[in-house]
């Protein structure tokens, strides 16, 4: 452990010269630019930069897993699998929809599930994990500005969450525990775990309050 906190989106840094030209209203953080360059130019230098940034994060993410059947020896396997997928699937990355970091998180999540399923010998599932996240064609992208706002909101709220909400969110996202498993482990009623998560998400303005959900539709 290096004990470093990294800065996620560093817009003050010059994007790599090799990166593709994106117009100014498009996503401009350096990781997204690098990822686009991997997709458009099979740019190995950009890929190396992405690797240097994300591999240590991915390894920590892998080590945080507390899934049944997971062990630390799998961590570097996951890093490799994710980075190979990143190379292979870079062309499907849409910078208008998500930051590179969010996109790579989803690749990592999917690889982690795939590795677990392979280990547990799930038989004859005619689906790959990414099929579960297949996007409908008519998907309307949310404006970049709204996305950026919501990313900022998530980040600033996460930093200020009460400890008990933070604890549950980390269990769910990093350790990979379902709400039910988290409730067992923490010795809390399921309803309490759910409401802690819900409170945190409401602060981040991720959840539409249930009473308004149907009206929004």
């Amino acid at each position: 452990m290096l004990g470093l906190k990294i800065k996620l989106v560093d817009e003050s840094e010059e994007p790599s010269k090799t990166t593709a030209s994106l117009s100014t209203e498009k996503r401009s953080d350096q990781w997204s630019l690098l990822l686009v360059s991997v997709a458009e130019n099979l740019d190995r230098r950009a890929f190396n930069q992405l690797f240097n940034h994300f591999a240590p994060l991915l390894k920590s993410f892998a080590q945080a897993s507390r899934h049944e059947g997971w062990f630390p020896g799998l961590s570097e396997d996951l890093v490799q699998e994710v980075m190979i997928k990143v190379w292979q699937k870079a062309a499907s990355y849409n910078p208008e929809k998500a930051s590179a970091t969010t996109w790579i998180y989803t690749v990592a999540r999917n690889c982690r599930i795939d590795m677990l399923r392979r280990k547990s010998n799930t038989q004859h599932l005619p689906l790959e994990n990414e099929d579960f996240w297949h996007e409908a064609d008519e998907d309307t992208p949310v404006s970049l500005m709204r996305q950026k706002r919501s990313e900022d909101k998530v980040q600033s709220c996460l930093a200020r969450l009460p400890k008990e909400q933070d604890e549950v969110l980390r269990k769910v996202y990093l350790e990979g525990k379902s709400h039910a498993e988290a409730s067992n482990e923490l010795g809390l009623p399921l309803g309490t775990v759910k409401s802690r998560v819900r409170l945190a998400l409401q602060k981040m303005q991720i959840l539409v309050a249930p009473e308004f959900r149907d009206e929004v539709l």
Partner: protein
């Protein structure tokens, strides 16, 4: 009915976003997302939570060999992955979620409609897990299903048409969750057949040498 808001509850979406939801409920959530822009947007934002949490972990050093190993593997990748050849069952439908069509076409044994009652047909699909039975149900126009109890949790997504029960009308894309003990009597809409995808949690099973012959699922589950 425990949830009549036609969407998966937020904790399910969170578990889905974190990758912690079992296969069968994930299939239903994914099918719902195909139809529901609101939940798709919610999922995008939930993924941001996962990504922020991931990006704030303490870094762990990786060995120098790792990048070289990845590059070596990339160089050995086949030029393009061969497109999966799949049979196309007439049960598949271009308007269904891709994942549902893949399930139908890739099922170990081609799914076939089996008469369950006068107005309901059922076709099971293979999903490689035993916790839930995943199946398509077809209710004929105006068809009345028997009033029934649920023995286990059940997730349902309407793929085509609509049906109603004593509580609500469920239209294309709607998500419905029934808990054990919920009782309802679905009725197909008058204007056409209704097709749903459902995942029903396995009731306690007797282990026996005859496998599915004694599978308690065979008793039941018109919806």
């Amino acid at each position: 009915m425990s949830t009549v808001n036609h969407h998966p509850e937020s904790s399910m979406l969170v578990d889905f976003s974190a990758g912690n939801l079992a296969i069968a409920p994930s299939i239903c959530v994914s099918a719902h997302l195909h139809f529901c822009n609101q939940c798709r947007n919610e999922l995008l934002r939930l993924d941001q939570v996962g990504s922020k949490l991931m990006s704030e972990v303490e870094l762990t050093e990786v060995g120098d060999h790792l990048f070289d190993s990845v590059i070596t593997q990339i160089d050995q990748l086949p030029d393009s992955s061969a497109p999966a050849v799949s049979s196309t069952s007439d049960m598949a439908d271009g308007r269904y979620p891709l994942l549902v069509n893949k399930l139908i076409n890739g099922s170990e044994a081609a799914p076939t409609w089996r008469r369950m009652s006068a107005s309901v047909d059922v076709a099971q699909v293979t999903t490689g897990q035993k916790e839930y039975e995943v199946a398509l149900h077809k209710i004929c126009a105006g068809g009345k299903t028997p009033r029934h109890n649920h023995n286990g949790q059940e997730f349902t997504v309407v793929l085509k048409g609509s049906f109603s029960d004593e509580h609500e009308v469920y239209k294309e894309g709607d998500f419905l969750f029934c808990e054990p003990g919920d009782i309802h009597q679905p009725m197909g809409a008058q204007n056409g057949e209704c097709i749903c995808l459902s995942a029903l949690a396995a009731p306690i099973k007797l282990s026996n040498p005859f496998g599915f012959l004694m599978n308690p699922w065979l008793r039941i589950n018109p919806m």
